[in-house]
């Protein structure tokens, strides 16, 4: 299960959406807007997405990881729009009868999301705004 939202993320609800009585552990990852990036102060981040494609890519990742870790239940939500320092941009929960799979599936999910899902961020700091990742490469 994965989706995009324009609202604050409720990680508790996400956890409850996956937990089964057979699960002995869950791992919850949240990405949070931090007050710095590559040595520069950050005040807020605007998240943009190619929404239908981003949802397809996230679904494909969740499906792939489900095949690799059949015992794991996985859920992902990514928030879009303007987020302030301390706001969560993404939450991923992986529950499993055993903890090793939950850790691995959770980490693999965030790594893959960062590689392929068409979501972008524009950082705002004291010196203005900038899209990340564009300068000097395509």
């Amino acid at each position: 299960m994965s989706y995009l939202t324009d609202d604050p993320i409720d990680p508790r609800a996400l956890v409850e959406s996956v937990m089964r009585p057979s699960d002995g552990a869950y791992v919850l990852f949240e990405g949070v807007v931090r007050n710095h990036h590559e040595g520069k102060a950050v005040e807020s981040i605007f998240y943009d997405a190619y929404r239908p494609m981003a949802e397809k890519e996230m679904d494909a990742i969740v499906r792939d990881i489900g095949i690799r870790y059949p015992e794991v239940a996985l859920a992902v939500v990514h928030r879009l729009g303007r987020l302030m320092v301390g706001d969560s941009s993404i939450a991923i929960v992986a529950s499993s009868p055993h903890r090793a799979e939950a850790f691995e599936a959770c980490r693999m999910t965030i790594d893959r999301i960062k590689e392929t899902v068409p979501i972008w961020k524009k950082e705002r700091g004291p010196d203005g705004e900038e899209w990340l990742g564009w300068q000097g490469r395509c």
């Binding site: 990405g31 998240y47 943009d48 997405a49 190619y50 239908p52 494609m53 981003a54 397809k56 990514h78 941009s89 993404i90 965030i110 999301i113 960062k114 590689e115 392929t116 899902v117 068409p118 979501i119 972008w120 961020k121 524009k122 899209w131 990340l132 990742g133 564009w134 490469r137 395509c138």
Partner: protein, 81 residues
């Protein structure tokens, strides 16, 4: 034929719009469209290689030949999470 070109993130800022309808000749590739944008927008001139490309919401090769009704998007380096 007509192709719908979507702009996101830095490319939307550069193009000043988020969508454009393109009237293209048969045989036009995604790379050809990029070359056109490079000629149109000075900020893209230095990028001889296009960024990642999506056709109809899936990643595609730059040499993909576009078809009538396709939705094309150039995908700047992603930064989700």
């Amino acid at each position: 034929m007509t192709v719908r070109l979507l702009f996101f993130a830095v490319l939307r800022d550069i193009a000043g719009t988020d969508v454009r309808e393109l009237a293209l000749a048969e045989g036009t590739t995604a790379r050809d469209v990029w070359q056109g944008l490079r000629g149109e927008f000075a900020k893209l001139a230095e990028y001889a290689q296009p960024p990642m490309i999506a056709v109809n919401e899936s990643y595609a090769d730059p040499e993909t030949v576009l078809r009538d009704g396709d939705e094309l998007a150039f995908i700047p380096p992603v930064a989700g999470g």
